[in-house]
């Protein structure tokens, strides 16, 4: 039997001499070395977080969070950037969650895992997760702004300047939605796997159709997973800069975005421009650290919530 052949291959490797198993190497050295790797990673994380908290905590105040920047970013707050980030990820979530959830349901409930289509979709999802974020930026510019936006302008606004064919919050949000699609799909699928088969069978036994089972049993049961996926997507989307720098983010705007085709300020982009293009880096440093801290707290908070929901979901499954 093939299965046995393989096992034998391994035991043959070992029968090079049963004496090899004398406890001459207790594994203390490898254990120490690999533990050192863990320590290095933990301490690097601690140094980064410590530095940012130490540098930024003094800047954070109610005024900092609720006021616009002043005096060439050397004073004032980051309210427009926070507002823009929140608006951006909200639009993104509206676009990505339904599609991600439906994709996961299709993969898990409608097709066999061995079918060609399923495998092709899975390959696409895995690859989408690996596309460099700057390529998403190029795509957003070439597809959403030039093709879709430019197309809309050509159809409806031929006599005016660009209305949709320009960087805007909707295009940035849609670009991010494509980028975070794999996150939502993977989390939802994990939740779908935890639903006991008996629940579905009970629904069918009571005469429920497949769609009814999905709408009334499967989706409600997988809500924690959908929520986890959405939160992780938000956390990921809030931190990405490369995809939005050509598709809608602006360094400074005197007004808040209030239409879908407005440009917007965003925390990550704000950090990038302040850190690299400030004429007086020492003067902007406190504000810069404060902004980084705000972004970091935002992403970590979202991640903690997601980790908590997921672990309680796993515990429920184990029980």
């Amino acid at each position: 039997m093939k299965v046995h052949d393989r096992t034998i291959t391994y035991s043959e490797g070992m029968t090079a001499g049963p004496l090899d198993f004398r406890p001459k190497s207790s594994g203390r050295i490898p254990r120490g070395l690999t533990f050192a790797a863990v320590l290095v990673i933990i301490s690097m994380l601690a140094v980064i977080l410590g530095n940012i908290v130490y540098g930024g905590i003094g800047t954070i105040s109610w005024d900092f969070l609720t006021h616009p920047p002043e005096n060439g970013m050397e004073e004032g707050g980051v309210f427009p950037a926070i507002f823009g980030t929140v608006a951006l990820v909200l639009l993104m979530v509206i676009a990505v969650v339904p599609i991600g959830v439906l994709t996961a349901i299709y993969l898990h409930e409608y097709t066999s895992p061995k079918s060609k289509i399923t495998r092709m979709i899975r390959v696409a999802i895995a690859n989408l997760a690996g596309v460099p974020s700057i390529v998403f930026g190029l795509f957003g510019l070439g597809f959403f702004i030039a093709f879709i936006g430019g197309g809309l302008d050509w159809l409806f606004y031929r006599d005016e300047g660009p209305v949709w064919g320009q960087p805007a919050i909707i295009w940035a949000a849609l670009t991010l939605a494509l980028l975070t699609l794999p996150v939502v799909i993977v989390s939802t699928e994990e939740a779908l796997r935890t639903i006991p088969r008996e629940l579905k069978e009970a629904s069918y036994a009571l005469g429920g159709t497949k769609l009814q089972t999905i709408v009334r049993i499967i989706i409600p049961q997988s809500l924690p997973g959908i929520l986890t996926g959405s939160i992780l997507a938000v956390s990921r989307g809030a931190g990405e800069v490369a995809p939005i720098m050509f598709t809608g983010a602006a360094y400074y705007l005197p007004y808040l975005p209030n239409k879908l085709n407005d440009q917007f300020m965003e925390l990550g982009y704000h950090i990038y421009v302040m850190a690299t293009q400030s004429p007086n880096i020492e003067a902007t440093k406190p504000i810069l650290y404060g902004t980084v801290l705000v972004l970091l707290v935002l992403t970590f908070l979202l991640n903690f919530i997601a980790i908590y929901i997921r672990s309680s979901m796993r515990k429920k499954r184990a029980a």
């Binding site: 299965v3 393989r6 096992t7 391994y10 035991s11 490797g13 070992m14 049963p18 090899d20 198993f21 207790s26 594994g27 490898p30 690999t34 533990f35 790797a37 863990v38 290095v40 990673i41 690097m44 994380l45 530095n51 940012i52 439906l102 994709t103 299709y106 993969l107 390959v123 696409a124 690859n127 989408l128 690996g130 596309v131 460099p132 974020s133 700057i134 390529v135 930026g137 190029l138 795509f139 597809f143 494509l178 699609l181 769609l211 999905i214 956390s235 800069v241 490369a242 720098m245 050509f246 990550g268 990038y272 850190a275 690299t276 440093k285 980084v292 970091l296 992403t299 991640n303 980790i307």
Partner: protein, 319 residues
């Protein structure tokens, strides 16, 4: 009676619902096709437009060019000079250099931590390591870029006595931080998916825990660990914000790890905002985007396929 009424009505809904779900499921597949189409579309003039080819044909981008009469031919990336120069070689070198530094830094740490977590760590310790890695993965790349630009660059400059703060080493280390979670996750997953029956067999033959890991788990998980490193390399090549902020962005041809580098991704991010729509420069930037997309696509496809095969093999053995 009610049931009889309810069934034929739901048939249409059932059909439409199912169609809607299956159409949504193709979003990831359509997304990845659209990305390729719309980026490659903008790059096509490199192959067809004689005007573009005048300055940036394939061989002009690859081989040394004599830009000024009487001077030695050379590679140079100076797209906005009076004699525009579009050699991709300096950018290629910069990209590889930054990615190699990142891997030299991240691979030992990531794999080491994965070995510790899977082979040595107590359950409690593992519950510390995993969230730490998740937190590291959650740090937005713009924050890592900020940290290496403001803090790490100064530290390296003082330690090594460098003239320039921003260089390949600085960017590479920060890039490594972004890559560690990928390597860790894939490698750890590969090792924990080695079936317990194999471990038990080795223990039954008298092996101590370290010998079990060394003779049993590693050989079986090695392809998975390799896949983790390859996927990490793909991420390091595509990552944008960190290199854009921390590498100095000078397209220098040298082997020195402490020289500044300009990578493919950072070139797109830095230059796309200022190019004329449809110009040679614009076309070349999309061509670079196409290269990045194709490269990461191949790496991800290969890595994903390798991982699936390993898992099938390992799980097949237990059944």
């Amino acid at each position: 009676m009610q049931e009889l009424k309810f069934k034929p009505k739901s048939k249409i809904r059932e059909f439409l619902g199912e169609k809607f779900i299956s159409v949504s499921a193709f979003s990831a597949l359509i997304g990845i096709l659209l990305i390729f189409t719309f980026i490659f579309k903008e790059a096509i003039p490199v192959f067809t437009d004689p005007e573009v080819q005048e300055e940036a044909s394939l061989d002009k981008m690859v081989f040394k060019q004599e830009y000024y009469e009487g001077r030695d031919p050379k590679w140079a990336w100076q797209p906005t000079s009076t004699v525009p120069k579009f050699s991709l070689y300096p950018l290629f070198l910069g990209t590889i250099k930054a990615a190699i530094i990142a891997m030299l830094f991240a691979a030992p740490l990531g794999v080491g931590a994965a070995i510790y977590s899977s082979e040595f760590a107590s359950r409690r310790m593992r519950e510390i390591i995993k969230p730490v890695i998740e937190l590291l993965a959650a740090i937005p790349s713009v924050v890592l870029g900020f940290f290496s630009l403001i803090v790490l660059a100064t530290v390296l400059q003082n330690v090594f006595g460098l003239t320039f703060r921003l260089n390949a080493m600085n960017a590479g280390i920060a890039l490594g931080l972004a890559v560690i979670p990928i390597i860790f996750t894939v490698a750890e997953d590969a090792m924990t998916s080695v079936p317990n029956s194999l471990r038990d067999a080795a223990i039954a033959l008298g092996a101590n825990p370290w010998q079990v890991s060394f003779t049993m788990v590693f050989p079986a998980a090695l392809p998975g660990i390799a896949a983790g490193i390859v996927l990490g390399f793909g991420r390091a090549v595509g990552e944008t914000m960190i290199v854009l902020m921390a590498s100095g962005n000078a397209a220098i041809i040298s082997g020195d790890f402490f020289d500044s580098v300009r990578t493919f991704s950072a070139t797109i991010a830095a230059e796309l905002a200022e190019v004329v729509f449809g110009s040679t420069h614009y076309t070349v930037l999309f061509f670079i985007g196409t290269l990045l997309f194709v490269f990461t696509f191949i790496i991800n496809l290969g890595g994903e396929m390798a991982l699936n095969r390993i898992k099938e093999k390992l799980q097949g053995r237990t059944e």
